[in-house]
Amino acid sequence: MMGMQAANLQNLPENYVMKFWIYHAMTWPQISYVAEDHKGRIVGYVLAKIEERNENENEPQPVHGHVNSISVLRSYRRLGLAKKLMILSQQAMKEIYKAEYVSLHVRKSNKAAIGLYRDTLGFEVAKVEKKYYGDGEDALSMRLELKDI
């Protein structure tokens, strides 16, 4: 968890205190994954959660997974780590929590990430969320149906 937090702070402007990382690990320990170098240092991670079925809403949402944060250190790109982390996480979401789909947010301008999600992993754009990020940038809300994987 220390390594995940450190990698997150190095790479992304959206950061979290340690308790947030612990909370995810304690609640859904099976669906977050890390990539390590040969010395055991964290070079990549995916932090995921499960959104429970919400009976109270008008349109009850089925159980689904959500990727809160994913990042690979720049010096460890081109190894397919992000793809591998995502796939392992998705498999666990489906198998253990019977998640029907997985969702995530990505910056509209982040071509590389959108390419990974859409072209490599098969995500589709569900909608645009205006000014989602702290700096005002729009987000694409993307979704992958897990029945097919």
């Binding site: 968890m1 220390m2 937090q5 450190a6 702070l9 190095q10 790479n11 992304l12 402007p13 950061n15 979290y16 205190v17 340690m18 308790k19 612990i22 690990a25 304690m26 609640t27 320990p29 099976q30 990539a35 170098d37 040969h38 250190l73 720049r74 010096s75 460890y76 790109r77 081109r78 190894l79 397919g80 591998k84 392992l88 666990a92 198998e95 253990i96 929590y97 019977k98 301008s109 702290g134 700096d135 005002g136 940038e137």
Partner: protein, 858 residues
């Protein structure tokens, strides 16, 4: 639920007020604070000495932010009714909010004396006991809870966990078995039940009851009661291996097929086959080849093969691995293979292969651009990039720079090439040049925080604290007091440690101490974070991960950043103890940098704003629940003046070092610093123990040698021998350290001869000589031995030597400095200070111009 004790007169309320009191409790539970306060006052009008009501009033006031007032009331209420469980419960809540867990537990224990079966109090007590690692008491509390309400599943689980934490696996197991028998109508798919079973299996595994564990696992995987397939597979493989079953191989293989990139699975597989992954073995190699072809997308088997293979096989495998990486343009290729370099022949083979690749892919001027060799230019670039790192790692900075320069001419737009150059320069001692190169990389991709962070780090290494802060500010929260404040809030250890180290090198130990203490604070926060999870995980039934959390927290302070911060801070404390003028010089004339002044101003403004707000009128929402945690006090020592001016620096150091002595016992630096502090505090036994630990790890280590000689010298010159048993014990060890008949000086000379070609050992001998009051010229003579033929002097060591010569006020400081300056051609760290400052100005103003063109992210 109070039992038969008669209610004391002072607590008794007639029916009207009794009803009001019940209302009061409900109003508190629903946080209707204003109404609650009114109700309390109603009761108090008639019964002004009703302790329980006074306590509740205090509790409400605290929630409303009127903390001092509130706590006064609570204390008053306790005094007025010492045998009420309510007053002690309230007091405990207040103390818990202050994170004073020991006192809180005392209050809760008192409360339980007067209401033994109060579920709320018992649960809170259990959490406190877990936090404080009082597992005997925890087991009792969990037992009580179970007895009161055996129908609640959690109570069973909690008891099992308590037994487990207390080291009583067999009772934990019995509890779980009993619990599972009570279960009726478990749904087909129940994650909580699944996790509970996995926990049960884990307990059996820890008890080494492997076949029981396996059958429990298998039965429940078949019935699909356990839903976590990965956990099942991992557990199975482990158990089958421990049982030396034939099925184990298949189990590990299944895991590898499930996740071909998990090195642990390969380790498990090979360990099961009785094969090592370190030594060469044809059998192991064949297996890896097989995995490689079966799992074509996985790097792990191919990389592992490189470690095992030798000779021509190694050459073939290395060639294809290297070419594959260079073709794909993998930035981490060098970092990946460099661990093979401990084997000199493998290192040479890789160099050969890389050089051959370079020759092959060098674009010739007469190749038409649209030919099949179009892809080569990129491979060419990555080959140069690889070779530059290779040469830098092997201590050939000039060659490395030449190589990377060609790469830069070829492709100046790839950030990695610039960061590579930066690393080369950093290692070669040109920190400013390194910072500039990283900045060049950063400018190529302003949106990338990784490059921004790297750039800031290199600026800090070069001592440019203010510039680094501005750099980081491009990505920190805009409404934070300063970039550093935001990074501290977000617990960035990288930032805190790098800035602390920079301040230390810049001769600002007060600011360094401030940041080292900030690191401590982060670890205190993380230690405290676990508190809520002692109850949370039980409610969620995520038990295996919870046990991991507890163990992790127990080890938390062995984290490298914590160790480094504690040691560095302690070294500062030792310095100011040895020379108090350092501290007084700072406290009497604090000097702020521009950024620090800016941040101070901003903080002052923010503080003023906070003070002005209440003057706007009565707070609009008096019902707002501020919780029970005290508000963070303002930082009253932003420049660390109080820290540096402290009257008991050695005691402060001792506090910081405490956890390290139990958690990090294999670290020589820890023991040498513990020794340094203890001997100065005249705690001879402590110093002795630390010395013994250090000597046991490596008696010839330079730092250990210095302390050994210091110890002998100290004991020899004690004004009087300490009383038995300490005195004789000290004498005994002193004789061991330097045998009878030999003078310390002679022994030191022998040490020097043994290690004449090791610069750090030579320095150590010089330090000892100096400590023995040898003439400065003799000491200098020893020191200059590090420049001799055959010694491998590196920059960090040379800097340590320089520091020592400066400390002893040697007349040959400049001489040493200029020799090093010549020897380490690329470095700038040996330049005289004035030249360095001018260089810094030039470099940074160059960066400023570039920055103005840079479009920073919104």
């Amino acid at each position: 639920m109070s039992k038969a004790l008669p209610v004391p007169a002072k607590r008794h309320l007639p029916s009207k007020e009794a009803t009001l009191f019940k209302e009061l409790l409900t109003l508190y539970e629903t946080r209707q604070l204003k109404k609650g306060l009114k109700t309390a006052d109603q009761i108090l009008k008639k019964f002004p000495e009703h302790g329980e009501t006074i306590c509740m009033k205090g509790l409400l006031l605290t929630h409303m932010g009127r903390r001092e007032e509130g706590i006064d009331f609570v204390k008053k209420g306790v005094k007025l009714d010492l045998t009420s469980h309510i007053v002690w419960h309230v007091f405990g809540l207040i103390q818990k909010g202050e994170k004073n867990y020991e006192e809180a537990l005392k209050s809760y224990t008192q409360a339980l004396r007067f209401d033994k079966e109060n579920l709320n109090i018992l649960r809170d007590a259990a959490q406190l006991q877990t936090q404080l690692r009082l597992f005997d008491a925890l087991v009792e509390t969990r037992h009580t809870l179970l007895k009161i309400r055996p129908s609640l599943r959690q109570h069973w689980i909690a008891l099992a966990v308590a037994y487990h934490l207390n080291g009583n696996l067999s009772e934990a197991r019995k509890t779980l078995e009993h619990y599972e028998r009570t279960l009726k109508n478990v749904a087909d798919y129940d994650i909580e039940h699944s996790e509970t079973l996995l926990y049960h299996v884990r307990i059996l595994e820890e008890m080494e009851d492997y076949s029981e564990a396996l059958s429990l696992l298998d039965v429940n995987s078949k019935s699909r009661a356990i839903v976590d397939r990965t956990a099942i597979m991992e557990c199975r493989a482990r158990l089958l291996s421990k049982l030396k079953s034939d099925e184990a191989e298949h189990a590990w293989r299944a895991l590898i097929e499930h996740n071909p990139d998990c090195y642990d699975y390969y380790r498990g597989y090979f360990s099961n086959q009785g094969l090592s992954l370190e030594n060469s073995s044809q059998e192991a190699l064949d297996i890896l080849r097989q995995f490689s072809s079966q799992l074509s997308k996985a790097t792990a088997p191919r990389r592992l093969a490189l470690t095992i293979a030798t000779g021509d096989e190694f050459r073939d495998l290395a060639k294809s691995y290297l070419l594959s990486g260079l073709t794909k343009g993998i930035p981490s290729l060098f970092v990946d293979v460099k661990s093979l370099y401990t084997n000199a022949s493998k290192r040479d083979v890789i160099e050969e292969l890389a050089e051959a690749a370079r020759v092959e892919f060098t674009p010739s001027s007469d190749t038409p651009p649209s030919s099949a060799e179009d892809t080569d230019p990129t491979i060419y670039l990555w080959t140069l990039y690889f070779l530059a790192q290779h040469h830098s790692y092997l201590g050939r900075p000039k060659k490395a720079l030449e190589t990377i320069t060609i790469a830069l001419e070829h492709t100046p737009t790839l950030p990695e090439v610039h960061t590579c150059k930066a690393r080369i320069l950093k290692r070669a001692g040109d920190l400013l040049g390194a910072a500039k190169s990283v900045n060049d990389a950063r400018l190529l991709d302003g949106q990338d925080r990784f490059l921004n962070t790297k750039c800031a780090k290199y600026l800090l290494r070069a001592g440019c604290v203010e510039e680094a802060s501005n750099m980081l500010g491009l990505f920190t929260k805009k409404d934070a007091v300063s970039p550093g404040a935001d990074l501290e809030d977000m617990q960035s250890l990288l930032y805190l440690m790098e800035e602390a180290d920079a301040h230390y090198r810049n001769g600002k130990p007060n600011l360094a101490l401030k940041k080292y203490h900030a690191v401590q604070k982060v670890f205190n926060e993380i230690e405290d974070d676990q508190y809520d999870f002692h109850g949370y995980n039980l409610r969620k039934f995520t038990l295996n991960i919870y046990m991991k959390l507890v163990k992790w927290e127990d080890q938390l302070r062995s984290h490298p950043a914590h160790v480094k911060a504690a040691l560095s801070a302690s070294r500062i404390y030792i310095k100011i103890h040895d020379d108090p003028s350092i501290a007084t010089a700072i406290t009497s004339s604090p000097q702020l940098t521009g950024a620090e002044k800016k941040a101070k101003k901003k903080a002052k403004k923010a503080a003023q704003k906070v003070q002005e707000e209440p003057k706007k009128g009565p707070t609009p929402s008096a019902n707002e629940d501020k919780g029970l945690e005290p508000v963070q006090p303002k930082d009253d020592d932003p420049e660390g003046l109080k820290l540096i001016g402290v009257s008991d620096p050695l005691e402060q150091a001792f506090k910081l070092l405490q956890p390290l002595t139990t958690l990090v016992t294999d670290n020589i630096d820890v023991w040498t610093v513990v020794y340094d502090v203890a001997i100065r505090r005249k705690k001879y036994l402590q110093a002795l123990q630390a010395l013994n630990h250090a000597r046991a790890l490596n008696v010839e280590h330079p730092e250990v040698h210095v302390r050994s000689m210091h110890f002998r010298q100290t004991i020899d010159t004690l004004p009087e021998e300490p009383p038995a048993p300490i005195g004789p014990l000290l004498k005994e060890v002193a004789q061991k350290v330097v045998p009878e008949g030999l003078s310390i000086l002679t022994f030191n000379g022998q040490y020097l001869q043994r290690h004449i070609s090791e610069p750090l050992a030579v320095l150590a001998a010089a330090k000892v000589a100096h400590g023995l009051k040898e003439p400065v010229q003799e000491v200098e003579q020893v020191v200059f031995g590090v420049l001799g033929e055959g010694t491998q002097l590196d920059i960090p060591t040379a800097l340590k030597v320089l520091e020592f010569l400066t400390e002893i006020k040697s007349g040959r400081v400049e001489e040493f400095r200029s020799v090093c300056n010549k020897q380490f051609e690329i470095s700038t760290v040996f330049k005289p200070l004035t030249e360095l400052e001018a260089l810094q100005k030039r470099t940074l103003s160059g960066e400023e111009e570039e920055k103005e063109e840079d479009i920073s992210p919104a």
